[in-house]
């Protein structure tokens, strides 16, 4: 528990006391929820009560009961088991996409912000071209070219987020590069690479991490949306978006087929939103990542 010393002397500044506290609480809650979901997703083969593709003809559209707490779907498959496996796919696709985008965006943003001039123009203008299309449309363009599938969905999401993350890295690099310690390192004779890796990058990463966690929330929604359209993860692999598409026609008779996968998406998205919002308040108060 940290304590904030009361200001001594000088003008009295009204400090919004609840802020640091709220942000920490956001991050802890988000990480806790995400942790539970991630463990459930990873351990799906161990904890799922039934196979995700096991068809039980007698249980077609069966209502929730003790053996099937979330009920059964159109083919008599256990909804709880499918939600657990679907969560696996959704988290895997969205986290892979955001990780890939971050790993590529960081060096580009770093180079654009640090070297400036022509390097900056070349990198920024090229990446800006990607932002010509709205995100969903760009994802669909990719899928139109490469065909549907979870790998393509992950790639499409990564491409969409690449320019956003690179832009954040560039602006935060611009700020850090102006610091005296960077100049000092250069004056001591350190090469560009050494300065970038040891001095600029570690200090400029904060806003990118914030943005990446915010984008993970959107990545989950995008993945679910694409799978809902039948353009993301392909059956029989269970995915949360795909489950929602399957249950669309039986919504009124068997709402549990639609309610539970949706709640799983909402909780997962919420956990990333909480982490992102909490991190933003503590690490990026100036709003570079916005």
């Amino acid at each position: 528990m940290t304590t904030i010393a009361p200001p001594t002397g000088g003008p009295i500044v009204r400090r919004p006391r609840s802020k640091p506290h709220t942000s920490t609480r956001f991050v802890i809650t988000g990480v806790a929820i995400l942790g539970v979901l991630a463990v459930a997703a990873i351990a799906a083969p161990l904890i799922a009560p039934h196979g995700p593709e096991t068809v039980e003809v007698s249980r077609v559209l069966g209502a929730p009961n003790l053996q099937h707490p979330f009920g059964s779907d159109v083919l008599g498959r256990d909804v709880l088991s499918r939600v657990l496996y679907g969560l696996r796919t959704s988290l895997l696709v969205s986290l892979t996409a955001v990780t890939v985008a971050t790993v590529i965006a960081v060096p580009f943003g770093l180079a654009a912000g640090y070297f400036g001039g022509r390097v900056d123009t070349a990198i920024s203008r090229t990446l800006d071209m990607i932002l010509v299309l709205p995100a969903m449309l760009l994802a669909i363009t990719f899928i139109a070219i490469l065909g549907p599938g979870s790998a393509v969905a992950a790639l499409a999401i990564a491409v969409i987020y690449l320019p956003i993350l690179a832009r954040v890295m560039r602006s935060s690099t611009l700020v850090i590069t102006r610091n005296e310690y960077v100049l000092g390192a250069r004056a001591r004779g350190a090469g560009h690479l050494r300065v970038l890796v040891h001095h600029v990058a570690p200090n400029a990463l904060g806003p990118v991490i914030v943005q990446a966690s915010v984008l993970s929330a959107f990545a989950l929604q995008l993945e679910a949306g694409l799978s809902f359209l039948g353009l993301g993860t392909q059956p029989p692999t269970p995915s949360l978006g795909g489950m929602l598409a399957d249950g669309r026609d039986v919504l009124i008779q068997a709402p549990w087929v639609e309610i539970f996968p949706g709640i799983a998406i909402v909780i997962a998205v919420l956990s990333f939103t909480l982490i992102g919002e909490g991190l933003r308040r503590s690490f990026d108060p100036r709003g570079v990542a916005e």
């Binding site: 969903m136 363009t141 919504l251 909480l274």
Partner: protein, 319 residues
């Protein structure tokens, strides 16, 4: 030439490279398909003669630069090609489909603005409970995927209450009242999430304006809270709000693709999704082009509007 006019001309000229980039992306869609796109389109039953014929019709037997020049000049003449499944001219198809997408997007945005801006102002000026409630609305509005929200709305309004039709469409020209009945659920689906974003932007824009010295001065002069908000704070916050609304139109156009599929609305989004599944590339291309071009025009209007609302932007003196 006045600096305002320069701003307008510069901004319009800036659209040219953007349109060019978009045209290249759309042009490449069919050309980047791995393997032979014509064979993929026609399926395994296609004869060699069919393949050659379609390849020639799509101009895929020329060199890439020649293909682009032909494609873009046909486009500028208004020749968008035809759908390879129904053989209907794409210009006709889009003329039927675009109004549906435009109606959905415009109504959703209007509703989102009608909810988001007043609540955003309340959130910036209200007490602790107002702030908490609006914060809750923002977090949930952003976290709930719009299509799931749509499904839940169907469950409530057609399942339990039996008030509204779950899916389908009647043209506004045929029966305005029925049209709005069919549009209610899709519009609500898109608008609720969108309202959360507009609320958040309005809240932070108004909050930051209220902290400025001239607002403190106005308060000291004894001007009522109502007049301060409507006459001064909102005017200063408007450029930020308008910018976000412009960006969010793109998000809505993307969301429309899902919502049209969910509610079986015959818009461009559903056209694209169906065309992708049929490997009907010319239709995919033109559908994407239509939505992207709409987004680019909206961005242009937004930027010009921001320049008009905040003359410092147009004068180039804004930081």
């Amino acid at each position: 030439m006045s600096s305002r006019l320069q701003f307008v001309i510069r901004r319009i000229l800036l659209t040219v490279p953007v349109l060019f980039a978009m045209s290249v992306i759309v042009f490449l869609i069919i050309r980047l398909v791995p393997g032979d796109p014509v064979r993929t389109m026609l399926g395994f039953r296609a004869t060699a003669a069919n393949v050659i014929e379609l390849r020639h019709r799509l101009g895929l037997d020329q060199n890439l630069l020649q293909q682009y020049v032909n494609w873009i000049s046909a486009l500028l003449r208004g020749d968008l090609g035809s759908d390879i499944v129904s053989h209907a001219p794409l210009s006709e198809l889009l003329a039927q489909r675009l109004p549906v997408t435009f109606e959905l997007t415009a109504l959703s945005m209007l509703l989102a603005i009608a909810i988001g801006i007043p609540l955003g102002i309340r959130a910036a000026t209200g007490g602790r409970w107002v702030k908490r409630l609006t914060e809750g609305f923002v977090v949930f509005g952003i976290s709930i995927p719009d299509f799931w929200l749509g499904i839940m709305l169907v469950l409530i309004f057609t399942g339990s209450l039996a008030l509204l039709p779950p899916s389908g469409y009647v043209s506004f020209a045929v029966d305005p009242l029925q049209n709005l009945r069919y549009m209610t659920l899709p519009v609500l689906t898109l608008a609720i999430g969108e309202a959360a974003y507009i609320l958040r932007t309005t809240r932070s824009a108004v909050t930051s304006v209220l902290d400025r010295p001239h607002m403190i001065f106005l308060r000291a002069k004894g001007i009522s809270q109502r007049r301060m908000i409507s006459g001064h704070a909102l005017r200063n916050a408007a450029p930020a709000i308008v910018t976000v609304i412009g960006i969010q139109v793109g998000v809505l156009l993307g969301g429309a693709i899902i919502v049209e599929t969910l509610f079986a609305l015959p818009g461009v989004g559903r056209l694209i999704v169906t065309a992708i599944n049929q490997r009907n590339y010319p239709t995919v291309q033109m559908g994407i082009l239509a939505i992207a071009a709409t987004f680019i025009v909206v961005s242009l209007i937004t930027d010009l509007l921001v320049g008009w609302l905040d003359p410092r932007v147009a004068d180039g003196s804004a930081t």
